[in-house]
Amino acid sequence: MKLLYFAWLRAKIGIAEERVDPPAGVATVAALLDWLRTRGPGFAEALKDLKVVRVAVNQEHVGRDHPLRPGDEVALFPPVTGG
């Protein structure tokens, strides 16, 4: 699974992208966020308040119950501020 981080999430986590192989049982966006928070202080800090974390799977906005598959591209980012 490919993970991408943007804006202050990228700054706090310290990397822009990585490939991960989450443990079995991580089958939804919500479960992925819970797992990522355990991966270190940068992740814990970035994912402290999930109300300000948005998720896209394969470049589409999705909700927390969205299912995940091994080849997915999952992006984490704050609410958008373009325009």
Partner: protein, 149 residues
């Protein structure tokens, strides 16, 4: 038509090109977003726009398609820049053309309202206190919700 680019754009040339040869157009509406030098009471030296290449183009194409579904539009244009921009520089141009003005006005407002809440762009401001990520505005959500149905 969608374009995501680092370079500036020429508003007049873009609007001319959008309408060229389409003589059924009776009204053209456009909106240009610029970098302000002030955010609240903070002085802004410049800002850097980050985006999600691939998803950005997809999100903008979906917004364009939705505008076409809702109004009888002859032409739609969205140009959004990324990279470092200074106060006074153009960030975004959205334009809609139709036989009559109401569809053009409404479609244009819809494009910018939806873009602000759906297209994956983030602004990092340079302030005297250091860099600061811009927070999303509740007023932008309210503006976008007007168009939900």
């Amino acid at each position: 038509m969608i374009r995501v680019q680092r370079e500036d754009f020429d508003i007049g040339a873009e609007l001319d090109a959008l309408c060229r040869g389409k003589t059924g157009i009776g009204g053209l509406a456009s909106f240009v977003g610029l970098v302000r030098d002030l955010a609240g009471d903070r002085r802004i030296g410049a800002m850097t726009l980050e985006h999600y290449p691939g998803m950005t183009e997809r999100a903008l194409a979906e917004i364009e398609a939705e505008a076409h579904r809702r109004w009888p539009l002859d032409a739609v244009l969205i140009i959004h820049r990324y990279g470092r921009l200074e106060p006074g520089e153009r960030i975004v141009l959205v334009a809609t053309a139709s036989a009559h003005r109401q569809a053009a006005f409404d479609g244009c407002q819809f494009l910018i309202d939806w873009l602000k809440t759906k297209a994956p762009f983030w602004k990092l401001e340079e302030t005297p206190e250091g860099p600061r990520w811009v927070d999303a505005q509740a007023s932008d959500d309210t503006a976008a919700e007007r168009w939900s149905r």
